[in-house]
Amino acid sequence: MALIYELIAQGVQMFLVLGIAPLMVGVTRKVKARLLRRRGPGLLQPYRDLWKLLHKEAVLAYNASWLYRVAPYLVFAVTWVTAALVPTYATGLLFSWSADLIAIVALLATARFALALAGMDVGTAFGGIGASREMLIASLAEPAMLLVAFTVALLIGTTQLSAIASHMIDTPVGLRVSLGLALFAFVFVGIAENARIPIDNPATHLELTMVHEAMVLEYSGRHLAMIEAAAALKLVLYFSLLTCLFFPFGMATGDKTFGALALGLVSYLVKITVLAALLPVGETTVAKMRVFRYPIFLGGAFAAAALAVFLLFVSRGF
């Protein structure tokens, strides 16, 4: 009985992240539109878009291989599983121990690997440019992200996300220099990894500066729907990670009573909605960067996270 209850709790998390992912994209788009003094589409527009794409015919190039057709499913499945393994409303879910923070980062790399290969499959210049730049961004962002993971792991003494969150709730570590630096680095990495301004523009099309869009340029129909859904899931995953690592308050830690779970759920939804609303505020205040300025942006994140790790190696007091 307890196992079934645990399975349900895990299942709820799995479908929760999937269910709200397009909504969060809707919130960001709406807030961005309002900031630009536009009315903007409704909050549910991403759901409609996905549904529409799912019912459209998929057009494949003559020379598209099986990898091109499999990649969207693989990217979606990997992103979904990863998002389902990050604690959202409760810690200590049934499978939360099967991947720690380092494994989460590596799973995202698996999704990126598949997508970059898919971008190169048809053999277009745009696909290649997207894949090449995506791997450049990843090669700068992923180490920064791993160093953020190091910072948290050194501070708390574990890389398990569930354990980190419950430790942060039970024994608050207070304001730390290292955590501040890690948060700074995490936000930068999150912006880059989710293809947001100033690294990439999700609304772009037919620009030589596009990265993510260039990679998936040839996709259409249900394949594109999968990729869009995976991108939305990835955004929510980064929101969840941010709340889990830095602001876990409200999460159900001890006994999973109904009240605690409900509180956890509500606080999670509030937190990520706030994050989704904050993202476009940043996006509307800066301009898109040139490609060869990415290293400065991401190198800053890397340096901040590395500084945090060095400080913690010198003394746990930072």
Binding site: K56, A58, N63, S65, D100, A109, M135, L146, Q160, F292
Partner: protein
Amino acid sequence: MPTIVGLCCVVAFIVVAVAAIALGRFGSGFRIVYAASAALSLIGLINALGQLLGGEAASSLILPVGLPWLGAHFRLDALSAFFLIVTNLGGTASSVYALGSGPHEASPLRVLPFFPAYLAGMNLVMLADDAFTFLVAWEFMSLVSWALVVAHHRAGGNTRAGYIYLIMASFGTLCLLLAFGLLAGPQGGYDFAAIRASHPAGATAALVLMLVLLGAGSKAGVVPLHVWLPLAHPAAPSHVSALMSGVMTKVAVYGFIRIVFDLLGELPSWSSLVVLAIAGATTVLGVLYALMQHDLKRLLAYHTVENIGIIYIGLGLALAFRANGFHAAAALGLTAALFHVLNHALFKSLLFFGAGAVLTATGQRDMEHLGGLIHRMPQTAVAFLIGCAAISALPPLNGFVSEWLTFQAILISPQLPQGPIKLMIPAVGALLALSAALAAACFVKAFGVSFLGRPRSAQAEHASEVDQISLFVMFVFAGLCLLAGTLPGFVIDLLAPVVQALAQERLPEQAGLPWLSIVPIAASRSSYNGIIILAFLICSGTLTALFIHRFATRATRRSAIWDCGYPDRSATTQYTSSSFAMPIRRVFGATVFRVRERVEMPQPGDRRAARFYVRVFDPAWFIVYGPLTRLIDSTAGRLNQLQFLTIRRYLTLTFVALIVLLLVVAAWR
């Protein structure tokens, strides 16, 4: 008993090698040679597995050959058993692979006799239990592999590769020779048991460590001693390249572990600092050079340098922990390193087999002339893709597990006392993180440019799938990569006796843990479960596909490439290998490589095509080897005058030398 079986295998390999001289003259003689090699490697593999799993005590054997007062000592303990498993696994696979690819060999007599001899040499290094036997086996292995490197000596650059390899190998053996001289001490106790009993420590130990780092490092490909490796490994036939990259570098790692962890006693604490610094540099530089290559086999060879760096990071961490008395942490570092040894042997062999298949099918190693092979060679593509994902440390495959273990070892290092080591370890962690991400970029490039896209040459367009035997070997190794990635607990338990012997501690038993997850330290600290993740991926992927095919449309149409409305029919407009690496070259180029970019833009009216040249240099050449060669040249030039002296001066010189030496001896006494 297992030692005798191991030795019998070595002798049988030599017999096969001699027989191969005769057999190579017949068209199908190669089948007998490779089948015999495969069978002998398999026996060696089973023998070593039995020794490691059976948990028997080390068995030794002394034969009355070699130095008269020493004899030849042989011993098979847990460490050599593990490395024999790696060696013979690679040996079996490449022998079987060669059964398939053998008919394509242009000059079989240049390869056939040396191949079994090479396997014999590597097996013998693992079995040797005294310095003399070890060095003879080591040098035998080096020389035979040199013969294999220059097998295709008429192909461009191969003789140069062989020459550089010969110099580096001799240098490495010289360092090991000096190291053993120091270890044996004035009494000349050359057998390992005597060295182990005397346990040299202090300054001698530190000096030995440096010599071994140079000696074994030059064979393993540690920066800056790696320069021969990307030249020599690709020059050999592909199944030998797989052995050289996948296995021989591990023999070098074995030599390092045997001397530093087993024979040496207490090491000064700064010694791990040196190992870690070199390892960190090796990791990042290796992968960055790999990214710049467009020769598929050379890319793989450069990437071996990176993996050696990862292995040495684990070993350096283990040294640091052991020097400070943290035996459990040392066990973790050592387990990570040994796990990566096995992993690298698996996926690097697989990738070299794949590259060999591409070479057989197209005659091309240059990725700029490949492309679209996923259509012509679908099965090779699948196996190669699995190898690429595994080497990029992507879960749920095996490369990730060993990197994850290394990261865990880094994360428990704040326990170490204050000192420079505490600043070195996070730096190494950052470098390892950087190299993990760059490796993924490197293999997106390797797979994307050669197997995806449109064919860039007629050979790539008309390639056909390789033979079934080669494919079988590749798929077995791909399966092993997946197996080691999803069930890592069993591998960790397999390594436990090795680690126990070297670090006086082992990781907790993993096989009994619920859901087959791995927990290197404690469940509250970190755990990983590859099989659950794989199951989740399969479930969610299938669920999604079913959902879409049930509730959405399955309609699909084939059409021309869209490419934003500007499709170009020429295959040259695709991203190439060098354009793929261009952003990373720009970012790291200024500091790491001396990149020379030159654009030749014709004047208006001039109808010549514009040209763009890029040259990437390995800085090891002009920072270390350039000045070194110039120094040797100028010294040799000065010494040359000694050849033209008169007899009187020669006699004077001899006399002066005698006096000086006598004075030295007198002062020393």
